[in-house]
């Protein structure tokens, strides 16, 4: 029972900082937050970029705030997330190469 409730699935377990798993976890978390912002319709408020109010009802300040959140998340998803994924792949390939060189028969968890 303890095992069932207490142990987080592997994907949610905290990984070592800047390890491939850590990078992938961060990429997934950012993408999930962006998806929520997108589904909440925050994209509509980006009209503030050209000086147009996002919503007359919500007013300038709140519209601009929502737009800023969306734009920041979008840029992070488009620019940073692929970098995190690529970096994870580079690390995995690098580790695989080093492991093979050091111990051709070793089998280990490279992602950690």
């Amino acid at each position: 029972m303890k095992k069932l409730l207490g142990n987080k699935p592997a994907i949610f377990q905290r990984a070592e900082f800047l390890s491939p798993k850590d990078l992938l976890q961060r990429a997934a978390a950012i993408s999930a937050v962006f998806l929520l912002a997108h589904l909440a319709g925050l994209r509509e408020y980006t009209a503030v970029l050209n000086g147009t109010i996002g919503s007359v009802k919500l007013g300038w300040n709140l519209s601009a705030f929502l737009a800023a959140i969306y734009i920041a998340l979008y840029l992070v998803v488009v620019v940073l997330v692929p970098v995190l994924v690529l970096a994870a792949v580079i690390l995995l390939v690098g580790r695989c190469f080093i492991h093979k060189k050091e111990n051709p028969s070793a089998v280990s968890n490279l992602a950690r």
Binding site: F17, N50, G51, Y74, A87
Partner: protein, 395 residues
């Protein structure tokens, strides 16, 4: 400890390498063949989708009200210019796609009639920014070349597609009034706002006169020739060679060359003086246009004449000095002068940074607004109307 530092360094190095790989590739996600934006014949997919959204706005009054209200909170001019760009786009679309001409003509008439009604009912300041009422116009009775020029060009564009007898006297009246004021003005500089003249508005007004010549057999060629000679003499920034944006009625510069104006000015000059137009475009491209990592954009001011951000420039992105207003209008310039490399890179930026939203085949850019999207539609469709008028064959 040593292993930890080694792992951190490896992680940072991987991030750096990944960034070096990804950033130059990012534009591939957004770059499409230029025909996706503008085609020589027919309508591009983007033009079709943008047009569908605009046609929806003009068949759904509630939706239109919401969009116009959002713009008018910032700038009443945008409400008016959105109408102009849409009418001019529909005229080009009617020539590109004759099968849909009845729908386009109906929408053009609806826009023109409503605009004329509002102008008559609410007065000319309805479509102007509040400072139009701060002091009297120098030339009396007060007229705004901004309104007269764009309305005249809307009427003329509609008539080029198909004659509408009711619009003929309305066009003649506007053109005659503008001609009279040009003759009255010592320097051929007419106001859009009190003692504030815009090169943009002069270009549009002269285009309307040229089209009136084509439609009604009048001859404004001497006036157009004289105005261009005056502009070359008095309105060029000596350093960049670009036309300045704003000046007083005695020719004193108010605002230097601006990206949010010059791209459209160069396009409007195409109908008046092709060589001068191309020269202005090439100078604007050199002074204001840029492509970084495959993304095209434009600055608002040349280095020789920096300015302050305003309602036309939109927010300026620091570092690169990217102006949303100038970058959007640069699509009109690049499309008009068939600068395909720049056009494709600008279109990539549009899809990257303007947040396109598609529903049921209708496209809008969330970071834009109705006037911005109408200007984009114009960039995606312009060409046939100017060509038809330049060909000189009457309808």
């Amino acid at each position: 400890m040593k292993a930890r530092i080694k792992r951190l360094l490896a992680g940072l190095a991987a991030l750096a390498v990944a960034a070096l790989i990804w950033l130059p590739c990012l534009h591939f996600l957004f770059t499409r063949p230029v025909a996706q934006f503008r085609q020589e014949q027919g309508l591009s997919p983007k033009a079709t989708q943008l047009a569908a959204r605009h046609l929806q706005l003009w068949t759904d009054p509630a939706l239109r009200q919401v969009e116009l209200e959002k713009m008018r909170v910032s700038n009443a001019e945008w409400d008016f210019m959105g109408r102009g760009y849409l009418v001019w786009s529909l005229a080009n679309m009617a020539l590109r796609n004759p099968a849909s001409q009845p729908l386009y003509l109906q929408t053009m008439d609806q826009i023109i009639d409503e605009t004329l009604r509002l102008e008559q009912q609410e007065g000319m300041c309805f479509f102007l920014m509040p400072y139009a009422e701060d002091r009297p116009y120098v030339m009396q009775p007060a007229h705004s070349l901004f309104l007269d020029g764009e309305i005249a060009l809307m009427l003329a564009s509609r008539r080029v597609i198909e004659e509408k007898p009711e619009y003929r006297p309305l066009l003649t009246e506007r053109v005659n009034a503008m001609t009279e004021r040009f003759q009255k003005s010592r320097r051929m500089m007419l106001e859009s706002y009190p003692d504030e003249c815009w090169t943009f508005d002069h270009g549009v007004a002269l285009d309307a006169m040229k089209m009136a010549d084509y439609l009604d057999g009048t001859d404004h060629s001497a006036l157009i020739h004289d105005w261009i000679a005056m502009a070359k003499r008095r309105l060029e920034d000596p350093k960049s060679g670009l036309l300045i944006s704003t000046f007083t009625t005695d020719g004193t510069p108010l605002i230097g060359p601006e990206g949010s104006s010059i791209w459209m000015v160069a396009h409007s000059l195409q109908l008046l003086d092709e060589d001068f137009a191309r020269d202005q475009y090439q100078r604007a491209r050199k002074e204001l246009g840029a492509i970084t990592l495959g993304f095209g954009y434009a600055h608002e001011w040349p280095k020789s004449w920096p300015g302050q951000p305003d309602i036309d420039s939109g927010p300026i992105i620091p570092g690169f000095n990217i102006s949303a207003g100038s970058s959007g209008m640069a699509l009109i310039g690049a499309s008009a002068f068939q600068d395909d490399k720049y056009l494709a890179s600008l279109a990539a930026t549009l899809d990257f940074a303007a947040f396109p939203s598609r529903t049921h085949g209708r496209l809008k850019y969330c970071a834009s607004n109705q006037v911005g999207d109408a200007a984009l539609l114009y960039a995606a469709t312009l060409g046939p109307l100017w060509e038809k008028v330049k060909s000189g064959k009457k309808p």
